[in-house]
């Protein structure tokens, strides 16, 4: 039995094939990428149970042309035979998911999944946390072959009975003279039973599936199989462009689909809390972890890193991470601030944008996770000789500078919405060739904007039809600026953690001079670089208030008077601006790189030999106070009432009489047992 043809009549409010197909124009993505993104997202959104995996298989099978044509009505059969008269066979692409609900509901019900997928072109996805919003992404199937797409699905009805249905849809530009079926005024039609609905009896479905080479679902399975007859290689890989297709997957759709799954869904191939894991295969070959390209393993690692650190509020200021172990890769927090970290994690916060969460904390807009990698890490060196991350992600159709970081953005479904290099780099460029920076930004799906709107829903609503970018919508100006703020926040975090502020600017040298010249003319001196505060504007000066810097005591040593004996050093100290009433002067050991060890730290960490210094004498020799006019210091001998001191083996404590002492002079004798260690004198204000 052949399927019966039902055209969609024209009318004022009836969709036109031309307009529907045009919705996906203007995207930079290859049509196979859109196909993979759209079909997997539809499958994941339809998962029956979040604890169970969703399997998606892409297969390309070759079938006799006659067999395929014969499933349609006579007119269509003739048209297809005429169009493909020179080909004895044709390719059929099938995208089959299981672990999903299938196309549920009745075709007569406008809100049923089956009606929405087949007949209600352009209706948006309404489920919270779903992948898309436009519902136009599904039109990608009609771009892949000869504008005919089959939908075979097995579902369970409200009584838990298994139901199967099969239907074919057709969308083509109704103005094209060469269109396959001229008898459709709107360019939209479908094939099913005599009522225009999908066929649903086994007797009618199984012979058609046999002709298509599509195995039926097992008795207890539910799922959907999208069928694209006359799947065209030339059409699907045409977007790669005129350049030589130099990369292995660019000449074969199956290989391209395999890579595309990794490109967009690598992070769903691993376990995701509260979501079904994706099990993907191409032509029956499962995409196992060993088949994932290194750059996508990095993406998985960054996602895990984000998951693990999400609850750490310390990430607000950014966590610098280094490898703790290589296999399996574990991270630890790097406390050194002066070296470049291996990885970095930061919770990105905006001021006054989100409602506080249930624990009265301001939620972040998302998390930034980044990893710096070498060619060795990415297996680009012999014996693996794999390709660079930029080639895996951008292919050969885009010329991109491999020293630019790659920033991937994702939200709740964990699909990578887009990869960015040039748009987000804002002057960031790695200096070392052969080094790569891979970054993942994960949106906080739980954050709510101040008016109660879920951030996830807002971002989903501003994605384009292929949900491949986040851009402000002129229609939704209320929360305008969030995508730009996210981009700026990511760039700023990367700049602070991985880039030298000056070297990061890729610019003409002449322009740097002009900026500096203008900075000199237009801005205050040293504006913004040292955080200094210029004086108050004229006529509005406030009473002067000594800054904290001025009130800090300082320590100096009269080097030329220092005396050395075999195991003793005699020092003459001066403490200036001794405003605080309690000062502690200690002897510590120089540990190099500007660090010191106190006697306690030495005892704890080194134990033997013991702390190499001992304070054996401390004597105050003089004091200078301010004269009455508050300007010139006057020297006078120390009065017993001025200062009390106490001494132990490594420090002494001065207790001063209230008031500002311009200078205090003291003599100090130090016994040293190890001349290879430098003593360090430290001065600190002590708590009363």
């Amino acid at each position: 039995m052949a399927l019966i043809f039902t055209p969609l009549d024209t009318g004022r409010y009836v969709a036109r094939g031309r307009l529907v197909l045009r919705t996906l124009e203007g995207t930079d993505l290859n049509s196979l990428d859109i196909l993979v993104r759209e079909s997997i997202q539809n499958s994941l959104d339809a998962a029956t149970n979040k604890a169970h995996p969703v399997t998606v298989d892409f297969s390309i099978i070759e079938r006799p042309k006659e067999a395929i044509c014969s499933i349609f009505d006579q007119t269509t059969d003739e048209q297809l035979n005429r169009k493909f008269k020179d080909s004895p066979s044709c390719n059929v692409l099938t995208i089959r998911d299981t672990g999903t609900t299938g196309l549920t509901g009745d075709f007569e019900d406008d809100n049923s999944k089956i009606y929405k997928l087949i007949a209600d072109i352009g209706r948006a996805q309404e489920n919270a946390g779903a992948g898309g919003s436009w519902g136009l992404g599904k039109t990608i199937y009609y771009h892949m072959g000869t504008n005919i797409v089959g939908f075979y699905s097995q579902t369970r009805d409200s009584k838990n009975n298994v139901r199967s249905r099969l239907s074919f849809g057709y969308i083509e530009d109704e103005r094209k003279d060469t269109r396959l079926i001229p008898s459709t005024p709107s360019g939209i039609a479908w094939w099913g039973n005599e009522h225009g609905a999908p066929i649903h009896t086994k007797a009618s479905i199984l012979p058609i599936l046999k002709k298509l080479g599509v195995p039926p679902f097992k008795a207890d399975e539910t799922g959907t199989c999208i069928i694209v007859p006359f799947f065209s290689q030339a059409e699907s890989l045409v977007n790669i462009g005129e350049k030589a297709k130099t990369l292995p997957w660019e000449n074969n759709e199956a290989d391209y689909i395999k890579l595309s799954i990794q490109r967009w869904y690598a992070n769903r191939l691993i376990k995701t809390k509260g979501k079904s894991t994706l099990k993907a295969s191409v032509n029956g070959q499962r995409l196992t972890p060993s088949k994932i390209a290194p750059v996508f393993e990095v993406m998985q690692r960054l996602r895990k890193l984000t998951d693990n650190f999400k609850e750490h509020h310390g990430a607000r200021d950014g966590l610098r991470l280094i490898h703790c172990t290589e296999e399996p890769l574990e991270w630890k927090i790097d406390k050194q601030q002066d070296s470049m970290p291996s990885a970095y994690l930061k919770a990105l916060h905006f001021n006054q944008t989100f409602q506080d969460d249930e624990r009265s904390r301001t939620p972040p807009v998302g998390w930034i996770a980044a990893q710096r990698l070498s060619e060795r890490d990415l297996k680009m060196l012999p014996p693996n000789n794999l390709l660079s991350p930029h080639q895996y992600i951008f292919g050969s159709s885009t010329d991109c500078d491999e020293q630019l970081p790659i920033v991937a953005m994702s939200r709740s479904p964990q699909m990578i919405v887009a990869y960015n290099t040039s748009d987000w780099r804002s002057g960031l460029k790695l200096e070392t060739e052969g080094e790569y920076l891979i970054v993942l930004f994960v949106l906080n799906s739980k954050a709510r904007l101040l008016d109660g709107t879920k951030l996830e829903e807002y971002i989903r609503s501003i994605e384009n039809p292929t949900h491949s970018d986040w851009k402000d919508s002129i229609l939704k100006s209320k929360h305008k600026g969030i995508p730009v703020k996210i981009r700026n926040g990511v760039v700023r975090a990367l700049r602070n953690s991985f880039f030298n502020s000056t070297s990061a600017i890729e610019d003409e040298p002449r322009a740097a001079s002009i900026r500096a010249q203008l900075g000199q003319n237009l801005l205050p001196s040293d504006f913004g670089t040292a955080g200094t505060r210029p004086p108050a504007i004229k006529g509005k000066e406030k009473p002067s208030d000594p800054s904290p810097r001025q009130s800090q005591p300082s320590l100096s040593i009269q080097d030329d008077k220092t005396e050395y004996t075999h195991d003793e050093i005699k020092l003459y100290l001066t403490v200036s601006n001794a405003k605080h009433t309690r000062l502690k002067i200690s002897i510590e050991a120089d540990a190099g790189a500007g660090k010191t060890m106190t006697s306690n730290a030495w005892t704890d960490e080194i134990k033997s030999p013991g702390f190499p210094f001992e304070l054996i004498k401390f004597e105050l020799t003089g004091i200078r106070t301010l004269k009455n006019n508050g300007k010139a210091p006057a020297f006078r001998p120390l009065a017993p009432s001025d200062v009390k001191s106490s001494i132990d083996a490594a420090s002494f404590l001065l207790t001063l009489k209230e008031g500002i002492y311009q200078q205090i002079e003291a003599e100090l004798m130090l016994k040293t047992s190890d001349r290879s260690v430098n003593p360090v004198i430290t001065l600190a204000t002590a708590e009363a």
Binding site: F350, N351, S426, G481, V484, G489, N500, T502, S503, D507, E508, P509, R510, A511, A512, S513, I514, R515, A516, Q517, L518, G519, Q520, N521, L522, S525, D526, F527, G528, T529, A530, G531, T532, R533, P534, A536, I537, K540, E541, K542, P553, S554, L555, I557, D559, D560, Y564, T565, H566, E588, L670, T672, R675, N678, P679, V680, I681, T682, L683, A684
Partner: protein, 311 residues
């Protein structure tokens, strides 16, 4: 906390002997200016010296009197029979480079000739900052130590102290940078465009991330200073663009939250009680507004008064 390392051998006193330091670029004298953070900026007749574009020569002169005093002082810290040397030590953290100039030995002679040291850097060799100081070190140790002497300093290279001051030169002029960038846009695109990308103008830095003027170098009217390799003064067109951009920046902040932020900026009398961070977009606006006595009563007044900003 203040810390002071005590080397286990005598060193020169902190009471400095004065040396004369001068800076030059391509034969032109550079004038140093001390900045509030203790660093120094260099300029040539008002034009900032930028390490990325300009060469630098550091010249240091030590006159004969200073040398005599130095040698006298050295007897207190140097082991008998050892000889000291002088060299210019430098480091530029931003370019991860450091070095020492060719050393000059301090010969034990009373006939002193002034010493002159020079160190040259090519354009682009320095980034962020250049720190330099004149170091006195032990150039050749004493042949034999006297019996019982415990002097740890008798090792070649031991640092005995510094002469003069420690200097830190900024590689980017005074450190104040106005974010204007040349971009290779479409020939038919706009000559200039503005990016106002701050998320919080009171705290986000006034830099290329938050705010930038892009000049399209492919536009046929692009002023020559953006396309020429030679130094050229700012053209009237570039000045006009900058003035318009500042006015647009203010209008943009005014429109943000019903002028609340802008009013806060305007009301600020002194930076010491400002509600914005130093170096922020708001700080720049506050400075533009007060420095140029801008009139913001109407957009037209603002545009007109911005048109008079001195550049």
């Amino acid at each position: 906390m203040r810390k002071k390392i005590i080397p286990p051998y005598p060193t020169l006193s902190e009471s400095h002997l004065e040396v004369i330091v001068s800076y030059h670029s391509d034969g032109n004298d550079l004038q140093p200016e001390n900045l509030t953070d203790g660093s120094t900026s260099l300029s040539c007749n008002g034009t900032p010296w930028i390490a990325q574009n300009d060469s630098l020569t550091i010249s240091i002169e030590i006159d004969s009197d200073v040398l005599l005093k130095l040698k006298r002082t050295m007897t207190n810290v140097l082991p008998a029979g050892a000889m000291a040397g002088i060299a210019l030590s430098w480091q530029s953290k931003g370019s991860l480079k450091c070095g020492v100039s060719d050393p000059i030995p301090l010969e034990p002679s009373n006939q002193e000739q002034p010493i002159k040291l020079e160190l040259k850097f090519k354009p682009g060799e320095i980034r962020d900052t250049l720190s330099h100081e004149l170091i006195v070190y032990l150039q050749s140790p004493a042949d034999a130590l006297e019996r019982g002497e415990t002097h740890k300093c008798n090792t070649m290279g031991a640092r005995l102290g510094i002469l003069g001051d420690h200097h830190t030169i900024r590689a980017d002029g005074r450190g104040s940078v106005f974010p204007i960038f040349p971009v290779a846009g479409d020939k038919s695109g706009a000559l200039w465009s503005l990016n106002c990308n701050w998320s919080d103008c009171k705290n986000d830095s006034f830099d290329g991330d938050s705010f930038r003027i892009n000049i399209n170098t492919n536009h046929r009217d692009c002023p020559g200073e953006w396309t020429s390799d030679e130094k050229r003064p700012l053209s009237p067109l570039t000045k006009s663009i900058i003035r318009d951009a500042i006015a647009t920046l203010i209008l943009s902040v005014q429109s943000e939250d019903g002028s609340e932020t802008w009013n806060t900026i305007k009301r600020t009398e002194s930076l010491s009680d400002a509600e914005f961070s130093p170096g922020s977009v708001a700080h720049a606006l506050w400075h533009f507004y007060n420095q140029n006595k801008l009139n913001d009563e109407t957009p037209a007044d603002l545009m007109e008064s911005c048109g008079k900003i001195k550049l």
